[in-house]
C-alpha cells in the first residue's frame, strides 16, 4: 500500500488542485510511482470532486488499471487530519497540499514528503514565495497546478533527501534560541 493524500483547504477549497490531481497525466504519474490509494479532501467542493473522480475512474478502466489505484474522497474532519497523515507516514506515501502555512506546518510535523501547490489565482498572496523558500531549503516539493506529474515523479527520491523541519540549527547562528528563551530574554529574566 502506498497512499497519496491530497488536501485542498476546508473553507475555501482550491478546486483547480482537485481537477489537476485527478487528471490523466497525474494518474499516470501515480501509477508509475506505485501509488495504490489516492485520498482527496475536497472540503466544500464535493460536486467538482465527484465529477472529476468519475472521469478518473473511467480513464483508469480504459487503461485496465482501475485495480491498481483506488480513489477516495472526504469532506472535512473537525478533529484535524492526523489519521490521514499517519496513514501516509506508515505507507511511505506523499501529501499534496495547497500552500497555506497552517497545512504546511501540520504536514511537516509528520516528517512526510510534502508537495505544495500554490494557488496562483489568489492576489497579494505569498504562497508562491513561501513555497519557493521552503523548496530551496529542501523541506518540501513545489508543484505546479497545471502539471503535477513532475512533482509526483520526484516524490520517492525526495523522501531520502528531505530536510528536517523545523530545523535544529538555523545556519548562521551557532546557538539557536528557543522561543521560550527569547521571551525570558525580552523581560530580563535570566534564571
Amino acid at each position: 500500500m502506498k497512499v497519496c493524500f491530497v488536501t485542498t483547504g476546508a473553507t475555501a477549497p482550491f478546486t483547480a488542485l482537485i481537477e489537476s490531481v485527478l487528471s490523466p497525466s497525474s494518474l499516470d504519474a501515480f501509477l508509475k510511482e506505485g501509488y495504490t490509494h489516492l485520498l482527496v479532501q475536497y472540503g466544500t467542493a464535493k460536486e467538482i470532486y465527484t465529477d472529476r473522480a468519475k472521469a478518473a475512474q473511467t480513464y483508469l478502466q480504459q487503461s485496465q488499471k482501475n485495480r491498481e489505484l483506488e480513489i477516495g474522497g472526504m469532506d472535512f474532519n473537525p478533529d484535524g487530519l492526523k489519521e490521514q497523515f499517519k496513514l501516509v507516514q506508515e505507507s511511505k506515501g506523499l501529501v499534496i497540499s495547497h500552500a497555506g502555512s497552517g497545512s504546511i506546518l501540520e504536514a511537516l510535523r509528520y516528517q512526510i514528503p510534502l508537495a505544495v501547490v500554490p494557488n496562483t489565482l489568489l492576489l497579494d498572496n505569498h504562497q508562491e514565495e513561501l513555497a519557493v523558500a521552503m523548496e530551496r531549503s529542501n523541506y518540501l516539493l513545489r508543484g505546479d497546478v497545471k502539471n503535477l506529474a513532475p512533482a509526483i515523479a520526484k516524490s520517492s527520491d525526495f523522501r531520502a533527501k528531505m530536510a528536517q523541519f523545523p530545523p535544529l540549527t538555523s545556519g548562521k547562528h551557532r546557538e539557536t534560541k528557543s522561543f521560550a528563551d527569547i521571551m525570558d530574554e525580552t523581560m530580563g529574566f535570566l534564571d
Partner: protein
C-alpha cells in the same frame, strides 16, 4: 488686567504638549536593535497576554507556545476576536495539553517512588497540582477547591509543601487549569468587506476594549476579602508582563493600548517593566512584511522574523533566530 493673547497662549501650550509627548515617546519606544534589559529576578507569578487571530495566525501562535512553561507564566490571557469560536476552542485544547503534560510528569515521577526518597518535596509539588490543578504558595489561601473525597490531612500536607517553596523560591509549581487562564473577547478591528470609511470607528472600538484584558484578568474563584490574595491571583489582576502577537489586525490595537499604558506609566507599567511586547512575523512572510508587521516594527520591544531575507528589516529591528514555529 488684560487677558493673555489667546492665540499665542494656545500655541505655546500646543508646542509644550508636543515636545513633552515626543520626549516621552522617545523614552518609551524601543531603541533600534533590541538590547536585553538589565537582568532582574523573575517574580513568583507573571501574566502573559497572547493575541490570537484567524486560522493561520492562531495555528502559528500555538506552535510558538509549544514549550510554554506554566511555572514561569502562571496566568495566560488569550485575546480572541469576537465570533472566532475556532481560536477559543484551540485555547481549551492547548491548555488541556499543558495539563496533560504535567500529569504525565507526575506519573513518571510516581513510578520511581520506591527507588529514591530524596526528591520528596519535588514529587509532592506535581502530585498536588494533579489533584487541584492549582497549588498556592503561601498555604494561607485555599483557592483550588478540593475534590469531595480528599482528606484534610492531604490538604495540610500540600500547604506544607507550599510553604517550603514560598521561602526557598526554588521549585515553582505548575500553574494549570481553568483558574490559570482566561479568554477575552474583543470586537473585530475590521470585518471582511467592511468599507474603509467605517474602519477607523471599529478600530477605535477595538482599541477601547483592548484595555480591558490588559488591565486585569477575571478571577473565576474570588478569594474572600478577609484572606490575603496569593501571588498568583495578584499577577492575574495585574498588568501583563509580556504581550505576544503575530500579526492579526487586532494585535496592532492591543499593542497600541499597551503603549498608552506605558506612556502614562499607568499602574507602573513602564517603571515596573511590564507590558513588554514581542511580535513574530508569520512564517508565511518570506520577503515582505505584513501590514501589521509594518505598523508594529517601530513600536514593539522585539520584532522577530522567520526568514533570513527579512533579517534586519526596519533599520535593523528585525531579528532572525531561525524558524520558530
Amino acid at each position: 488686567m488684560p487677558p493673555p493673547p489667546p492665540l499665542s497662549f494656545t500655541l505655546a501650550l500646543l508646542t509644550t504638549l508636543l515636545v513633552v509627548t515626543s520626549l516621552r515617546l522617545l523614552a518609551i519606544l524601543p531603541r533600534h536593535p533590541f538590547r536585553p534589559p538589565p537582568p532582574r529576578k523573575r517574580p513568583l507569578a507573571s501574566r502573559i497576554l497572547i493575541v490570537l487571530g484567524s486560522g493561520g495566525h492562531t495555528h502559528e501562535m500555538f506552535r510558538l507556545l509549544r514549550e510554554l512553561d506554566t511555572r514561569k507564566w502562571t496566568h495566560r490571557t488569550y485575546v480572541v476576536s469576537s465570533g472566532d469560536a475556532f481560536s477559543a476552542q484551540w485555547v481549551r485544547r492547548f491548555e488541556g495539553e499543558l495539563e496533560g503534560r504535567v500529569r504525565d510528569a507526575e506519573r513518571r515521577r510516581g513510578k520511581g517512588d520506591g527507588e529514591d526518597e530524596d526528591e520528596d518535596g519535588g514529587r509532592g509539588d506535581v502530585a498536588a497540582v494533579g489533584k487541584n490543578g492549582h497549588v498556592n504558595v503561601n498555604g494561607n489561601a485555599k483557592i483550588g477547591g478540593n475534590g469531595g473525597g480528599e482528606k484534610p490531612k492531604e490538604a495540610e500536607a500540600e500547604a506544607e509543601v507550599g510553604k517550603g517553596r514560598g521561602r526557598g523560591g526554588q521549585e515553582r509549581p505548575y500553574c494549570i487549569g481553568p483558574e490559570h487562564y482566561d479568554i477575552a473577547n474583543i470586537p473585530r478591528a475590521r470585518h471582511i468587506h467592511q468599507s474603509l470609511l467605517t474602519t477607523p470607528l471599529t478600530c477605535l472600538r477595538t482599541l477601547f476594549s483592548a484595555f480591558h484584558p490588559l488591565l486585569s484578568a477575571p478571577s473565576p474563584l474570588p478569594t474572600p476579602p478577609h484572606l490575603p490574595h496569593t501571588p498568583y491571583e495578584r499577577a492575574a489582576t495585574d498588568l501583563p508582563a509580556l504581550i505576544l502577537t503575530n500579526g492579526p489586525a487586532t494585535a496592532v490595537l492591543v499593542v497600541l493600548a499597551a503603549l498608552t499604558l506605558r506612556f502614562f506609566d499607568y499602574r507602573g507599567a513602564e517603571r515596573r517593566g511590564l507590558c513588554r511586547t514581542i511580535y513574530v512575523e508569520s512564517f508565511a512572510r518570506v520577503k515582505t512584511l505584513s501590514l501589521s508587521g509594518r505598523c508594529l516594527v517601530w513600536v514593539v520591544d522585539r520584532f522577530l522574523v522567520q526568514w533570513e531575507e527579512l533579517w534586519g528589516v526596519g533599520r535593523g529591528r528585525g531579528e532572525f533566530c531561525g524558524v520558530l514555529v
